[in-house]
């Protein structure tokens, strides 16, 4: 077995659990005390515990794609303040270029932890704040061209100095947000989480004694490295690449490629993002920590055993992120809606690992969350509500794609319809699956999700960030790609189809409707090989119609609701010559979209 210094493996296990329970406790404190819906219901935040060098030793169970968010930030904090980190200090920052942040709404609050006068660790939190000012409500607009338009940039500064709050800075923050009460409420929650963690961590240090504890931590980093190496070693050696595309920006989008090349060499892994598009003058450039997170997350996803969150696990992973690209922008590139790159990076890596470990990786899902920020005025008060819409996975080699599940990159929740309606002037008319959607296959992708909003007040704005309207979620093993993600204003005659990332906020009047249709997951294997009994079950479940399964799966259902075997065999024979994109005709036709063209796998709309 592996050996780590002289530390007893029993004590290591006990301390490892104690540390992760501290990070989970922090996450609970934030969840219960936070104000904004994106924190309390969508859980878009993270908590971490770091050792005295700022290396992560535990990460709360919230967002997988925040996994890599603390190392760069902690490196900045430690290097900028070395020698000036005092008991009772609490730091705050958000800037991607000077503070290791990701985008301005992600506000970090970090508290150094002292025991017996010695710096022993840090309690770190990151909360997606609902509004940090900038060009559009929600501070996540795609249409800023420079970071200066995106809101308040905060370098690493002290929010509390030796226990005394920095009132000046609180005033500046408050003045720069559209919803200061929510911002300050959420920041209070972050501080409370740090305080509770600091107490528990200091106790743990005191219990073992500083010297032993520090050695223990070093050993746990080594242990994590060892487990990660074991998992990488299990993978076959070789080099694999995959390229996926974002639809692009504005009203006339141009595709933006993202490419990863993964090399497995013994117990080392190299991930090279060369081939990804140059940075763009829009808010979707993605600071590197988020991309690093996708790599770490994917390794954990395909691992057979849990890889602990000690920073040491990242040692066998090398990541190349060319400067000036979407995955490692240089200032003053705008970054507000950068998560879209992270989501697509997950798909790219999924595409790579589907080649390395084909049994363990599904076809592409909905492509990460669609993020509409809805804002307006209600009884004289400003409101902003951001939604994280997701829920459809692609198919696995032996199983249909899961429906009603967060994207693997972020374990988010949906917001209760009744809560939204009680708090904001919005009525949600429908939330559920789109029938006849998802990518067909021997195993089919999950259907797309529909969520429809009726605006009750005039002058309601929607800032939209979405994707997968043109480039569909890819399939595996000969299945069909998923169905597209669409946004429709006032569905029905005269409806308007929005681009994936409009260059301006979309304005709605009273009773106007904003319809979100999420992408359906990609399929696996030939649809004509799907077991007719499974097809029939989908029809009985009213997920697919009889007309659809006849045209797409070649399964003929008779008048008594049974599979007509002979007619099915004949129909399948006929369909082997191809059926065009019959499944898209059904999915899009139901939304009143008849004029579209599929060319080179890309959907064009008239």
């Amino acid at each position: 077995m592996a050996s780590y210094g002289n530390t007893d493996p029993i004590t290591m296990e006990v301390v490892k659990n104690a540390l992760s329970s501290i990070a989970d406790e922090m996450a609970l404190v934030i969840m219960r005390t936070a104000y904004s819906s994106i924190v309390r219901d969508s859980m878009d935040y993270s908590t971490g515990v770091c050792d005295r060098h700022g290396r992560v030793v535990a990460h709360g169970m919230t967002m997988a794609l925040h996994l890599g968010s603390f190392p760069d930030a902690m490196t900045q904090l430690v290097s900028q303040y070395e020698g000036d980190i005092l008991e009772g200090d609490i730091f705050v920052f958000n800037d991607p270029y000077t503070a290791g942040g990701m985008h301005l709404p992600d506000v970090y609050i970090v508290k150094p932890i002292f025991e017996a006068g010695e710096l022993e660790g840090y309690a770190a939190t990151l909360v997606h704040q609902i509004d940090m000012g900038g060009i559009a409500p929600g501070s996540t607009a795609t249409f800023a061209t420079e970071i200066f338009q995106e809101g308040l940039r905060i370098p690493v500064i002290k929010l509390y100095e030796q226990g005394r709050p920095n009132d000046t800075f609180f005033k500046i923050m408050s003045l720069n947000s559209r919803v200061p009460d929510k911002l300050l409420g959420d920041m209070r929650a972050q501080v409370a989480a740090c305080n509770s963690a600091a107490q528990a961590y200091a106790k743990l240090v005191a219990k073992h004694g500083s010297e032993t504890f520090r050695r223990l931590i070093d050993d746990l980093h080594d242990y994590a490295e060892h487990v990660a190496r074991e998992e990488i070693r299990r993978l076959p050696d070789g080099t694999w690449s995959f390229t996926d595309y974002l639809d692009g920006l504005g009203d006339d989008p141009e595709p933006l490629p993202l490419k990863a090349t993964v090399t497995i060499d013994g117990d080392n892994m190299l991930v090279d993002w060369t081939g990804s598009a140059p940075q763009v003058p829009a808010g979707i450039n993605c600071p590197s920590p988020f991309v690093v997170s996708t790599v770490q997350m994917m390794l954990k996803c395909v691992a057979k055993q849990e890889i602990p969150n000690f920073d040491g696990f990242s040692r066998p992973i090398e990541i190349i992120l060319p400067e000036g690209t979407l995955v490692n922008p240089t200032p003053p590139a705008a970054v507000a809606a950068r998560a879209i790159i992270g989501w697509r990076a997950v798909d790219v890596l999924q595409g790579v690992f589907a080649q390395i470990v084909p049994d363990d990786v599904p076809a592409a899902g909905e492509g990460g969350v669609t993020f509409p920020a809805i804002s307006g005025w209600d009884q004289g008060r400003r409101f902003v509500v951001s939604e994280t819409l997701c829920g459809s996975w692609g198919a696995l080699p032996e199983r249909d794609g899961v429906f009603g599940i967060p994207n693997p990159g972020g374990n988010l929740t949906n917001q209760p319809i009744e809560m939204i309606e009680a708090l904001y002037p919005i009525e949600i008319q429908r939330y559920g699956m789109l029938e006849n959607s998802g990518g067909p296959g021997k195993f089919r992708g999950a259907p797309g999700i529909v969520r429809s909003y009726r605006m009750l007040n005039d002058e309601t704005l929607v800032v939209l960030r979405s994707d997968r309207k043109h480039h569909l979620p890819w399939a595996l093993g000969g299945g069909a790609p998923g169905t597209p993600c669409l946004h429709i204003v006032n569905p029905g005659p005269g409806q308007r189809l929005l681009p994936p990332m409009p260059s301006d906020p979309v304005k709605f009047g009273v009773d106007e409707v904003f319809l979100h249709v999420g992408a359906g997951g990609g399929g696996y294997g030939d649809p004509l090989e799907r077991d007719p009994a499974m097809v029939l079950e989908d029809v009985r479940e009213e997920q697919l119609t009889a007309a659809y399964v006849k045209a797409v799966y070649g399964v003929v259902i008779d008048g008594e609701g049974r599979v007509d075997a002979a007619a099915t065999a004949a129909k399948r024979e006929e369909l082997r010559g191809g059926n065009g994109h019959a499944y898209l005709d059904f999915a899009l036709g139901a939304l009143g979209i008849d004029d579209f063209l599929v060319k080179d796998g890309i959907v064009h709309y008239d």
């Binding site: 006990v14 659990n17 329970s21 406790e25 074991e230 429906f403 988010l412 929740t413 479940e541």
Partner: protein, 690 residues
């Protein structure tokens, strides 16, 4: 108080055993363990009850009360054996049940499989109607759509229907009208539940899920209760039968038939209630360690902690919303119990990096630990503690179960000690420590996670293994006082005797205090009080026999999660808003370490609770003599292997210092060096750090 000839029976049904406790005059207490009869549980209960009555020469007519806890409801969900159920929802929302809150209980997975919804899509039917968040009618109920749904339900031959419409918590009219139409159309046997009756609170998924669970359980539990009643009546036990609820109160068998979703956690609740009544004057954290899991809960001022963040069928419930999503949301009050997969049967494994894990996988009762000799091959927690010398291989369940120490030691050597390059005893000690470290998380989930310092509490240990690990866990949390009650191995059955009648009625009412008046809120509480009075009257208690307590789920306006606090009242009986604001602020401070006095407070849900205390009081419990005293070698880590005295509980009349092992019919209590054991008048063992 009990009259001389009055006897009370507690019956706790688990998967394998049915535990029966018979309590009578002057502390007389008889315990009986019998095999459960899953084909018809009522038969096993009646057989057991008759055996214990006949054994003591007590007439069935002397039984004045039967209190019952059961895992049947939980198992019905886990085993998917509930009724074929339909769901009626508002147009546009039939998939809410399936999509849930999205979140899953695992972080890094590409192969997660969701639990199937309890109602398939084809039976989730939509009707045309729409309410707004204040209960206002935006679209009137289109009764033709209800009729169409009823026809489909009829054709499908369902056993139950759940009705859950958007915003029905604010206005039950549409749901009630739908139910009325269904009753006119469907077979009278079809079980119908409205969300506005079972859980009138905001958040559509949780309310719908709860309603569906109630309907899904309804027919099966109605049948089960009929069987229990029938079998008991057949042996001439005519006493009223009460059922333990998940929140620790009891309800009549008839009420439980209407609201089976209320009794899902009845077994674990009974143990905690027992602790709350037994040690009413100390604040305690309960630790109930059985064969597969360890459960913890908190008791303050004689009150148990309750929560509504609960899921059934999720496997292990860490009482942490961070890992929710694995089961079916059941948003009814349950005793807040955190659970961790560490029990006697928990399997020991070593990971690729060389660290030791205990659980959550379990060898269960079959094949069980290696030492059981029933084919179990992987080392379990029990095998380790047997090697430490804590358990008597010849005396488990009063000698009914023999353990093979040699086989356990050989497996421990081969699977753990060799890999860790340790001696067998050190390896066993390591397993014991890891298991205790894991269980500490369950204790922390109900204490530090909620701002409570465990050092201010006693650890109240029961379950077959609770008293084995109690002092070790106490030491890890710097707790200095452990209590081990009598009959720790059948303690849930005993706890049943101590439970009172308890009911709570709730109503969703989202309003900022600044936007309402004490008179308006008071009127709403008044309506709830009338509902409560009706429930109590059904149980045979008139007004005056119980106190109605007003409580409210409150939060700062805009927060997502609420805290439940008592609502103080002014001299005219109306709610005292200043007092409520202060009570909430204090609770917020206590739980989260801060409050925001400038923030507005809003109510989300109103609650009225009534309780009638139990008639049985645990003043004097006769302590039975155990086996013959002796001694054996036991290993205590740093203290090494020492000769520990083995005594019965009765021998503790004088305080005795550890190392010591207290052996009983149903459990073993380990007292390491540095701890002292003593007995109080009620027969509880108190362990204190010396």
């Amino acid at each position: 108080m009990s009259k001389p000839a009055d006897w009370t029976v507690g019956v706790d049904i688990g998967g394998t055993f049915t535990d029966i406790v018979l309590a009578g005059p002057e502390g007389a207490l008889f315990v009986h363990k019998t095999l459960s009869t899953p084909d018809d549980y009522g038969r096993g209960i009646a057989t057991g009850v008759r055996a214990v009555l006949e054994g003591q020469g007590i007439a069935a007519s002397a039984v004045r009360r039967v209190v019952h806890a059961t895992t049947v409801a939980t198992n019905t969900v886990l085993e998917k054996k509930g009724a074929k159920t339909a769901l009626i929802t508002t147009q546009g929302f039939r998939d809410v049940l399936e999509m849930r809150r999205l979140r899953i209980p695992e972080m890094y997975t590409l192969k997660y499989q969701r639990p199937e919804p309890l109602v398939p899509r084809r039976l989730r039917l939509e009707v045309t109607e729409r309410l707004g968040p204040r209960g206002e009618v935006r679209v009137p109920l289109d009764e033709a759509t209800v009729t169409t749904a009823a026809e489909r339900i009829n054709a499908a031959g369902v056993g139950a229907v759940a009705i859950s419409l958007i915003h029905a918590y604010a206005n039950p009219d549409h749901e009630h009208r739908v139910a009325e139409i269904l009753r006119e159309t469907l077979d009278g046997e079809v079980y119908i539940t409205c969300s506005s009756d079972i859980l009138p609170v905001i958040r559509e998924y949780e309310r719908t899920s709860t309603t569906v669970i109630n309907a899904y359980l309804g027919p099966a539990l109605r049948h089960y209760f009929e069987s229990v009643m029938g079998h008991l009546r057949a042996i001439d036990v005519d006493a009223p039968i009460q059922i333990m609820k998940s929140d620790g109160g009891v309800m009549t068998l008839e009420a439980a038939s209407d609201r089976p979703s209320y009794i899902v956690e009845s077994g674990p609740a009974a143990g905690v209630i027992g602790a709350a009544r037994t040690a009413a004057d100390v604040n305690s954290i309960t630790l109930d360690m059985g064969g597969t899991t360890a459960k913890a809960s908190i008791v303050e001022g004689g009150e148990v902690a309750r929560t509504a963040d609960y899921e059934v069928g999720a496997g292990i419930n860490l009482s942490s919303k961070l890992i929710m999503g694995g089961g079916y949301a059941l948003k009814l009050p349950v005793i807040d119990i955190s659970e961790i997969g560490a029990g006697g049967g928990s399997l020991v494994s070593i990971d690729a990096g060389g660290l030791v894990h205990v659980g959550p996988e379990s060898a269960g009762a079959h094949p069980g630990p290696v030492a059981y000799g029933q084919g179990g091959e992987q080392v379990t927690f029990t095998d380790a503690v047997l090697n430490l010398g804590y358990l008597n291989p010849d005396h488990l369940v009063g000698g009914g179960l023999k353990l093979d120490t040699d086989a356990a030691r050989a497996a421990l050597m081969e699977q753990v000690a060799k890999t860790l390059k340790k001696e067998a005893l050190d390896a066993a000690w390591g397993v014991f420590q890891v298991a205790c470290g894991t269980m500490v998380r369950a204790v922390k989930a109900v204490s530090t996670y909620r701002g409570r310092d465990p050092r201010d509490f006693a650890l109240f240990a029961f379950g077959g293994n609770g008293p084995v690990v109690a002092t070790a866990i106490a030491e890890l949390l710097e707790m200095t006082h452990v209590i081990v009650p009598p009959n720790p191995g059948v303690y849930s059955a005993y706890g049943l005797l101590l439970s009172g009648i308890e009911h709570e009625v709730t109503r969703g009412h989202l309003v900022r205090l600044a936007e309402t008046t004490p008179a308006d809120l008071g009127a709403r509480f008044g309506e709830l009080e009338e509902e409560l009075a009706q429930l109590m009257a059904d149980e045979g208690y008139g007004v005056g026999a119980f106190d109605a307590e007003w409580r409210a789920d409150t939060r700062y306006a805009g927060q997502a999660h609420e805290l439940t606090v008592p609502v103080p009242r002014t001299s005219d009986g109306a709610p005292d808003f200043d007092g409520l604001q202060k009570a909430f602020g204090d609770e917020h401070e206590r739980t989260y370490g801060h409050q925001a006095e400038a923030e507005e407070v809003e109510c989300v849900t109103l609650r009225v609770n009534g309780r009638v205390a139990a008639e049985f009081t645990p003043d004097k419990i006769a302590v039975a003599d155990g086996g013959p005293p002796g001694s054996r070698a036991a290993y205590f880590g740093p203290a090494g292997q020492v000769d520990a005295r083995v005594v019965s509980r009765a021998a503790l009349v004088e305080p005795v210092a550890g190392p010591l092992i207290v052996e009983e019919y149903d459990a073993t209590c380990v007292v390491p060096p540095g701890w002292q054991a003593s007995l109080d008048d009620a027969g509880n063992i108190h362990l204190r750090v010396m």
